[in-house]
Symmetry: C2
Amino acid sequence: MSTENRIVLNPIGYVKTKAIGDEIKDKALISQIVVREELVDGLSGISGYSHLFVLFYLNQVTDAQRRTLRVHPRGRVDLPLTGVFAVRTMLRPNPIGLTVVELVSVDGNVLTVKGLDAFDRTPVLDIKPYDRWDLIGNVKVPGWWLKLQEEKKKALQ
Amino acid sequence: MSTENRIVLNPIGYVKTKAIGDEIKDKALISQIVVREELVDGLSGISGYSHLFVLFYLNQVTDAQRRTLRVHPRGRVDLPLTGVFAVRTMLRPNPIGLTVVELVSVDGNVLTVKGLDAFDRTPVLDIKPYDRWDLIGNVKVPGWWLKLQEEKKKALQ
């Protein structure tokens, strides 16, 4: 049965950043992705894109946290208890992070990117170009998501 | 060194579809994602979203294919040889597929989705909501990508 197979992956590189703690949530944060040197040919042509998906392994998530199935979004108990597949929490059975970043520059096996919310030395699993198929018209999100966004807007006013 | 660690994942479920071969590329294709029953609480609140990211394991990719570093997009030799991290080919060191799907319905541990380009019994690694942070303004893509899109448009005329 395919769902019982274990899947083994090796990182293609790792994240390099001086940001610590909540600093990684800053969408203006500049980080590096250092790709393993033997994989450098895999980056050919990547500078043709403005944005990339970065898939990374949340290696600080514990086994107990991987068993979490529902959370309050952003830890806020006034927001509904929500399944981990319905929120972008790092607590999930397979702790893979997915972030769209802006590609700032490419230098050999090192990508400089903007907006990567990953800690220093986080293993990177894959890099994929963001293309126009990924732009969805008419996106629907839950009420709690809109509420949080509204609060952010007010805080900036 | 974190990049040398092996990462072990267990599928959270699998894909169910009658589509075979190139039929999976049809963006109108309806498939199911059957989530492991013990993880059903992880789906709470997911119906609040219109679109999801599905991360799946491309288990038909061979070890030799995982070592491929450059390809011609869509196998077309008239398009530039491009690094695997700069194209959405299934040939990549960690063969993880990433597709944005439309959520059609939720029934217990089964999601019905539209536009999932994965074969029957493909292991699913993660499901994440697509939210408005994932909508990028002003996306730049390479010339070959635009050329392919132009060709598709002409074919439809």
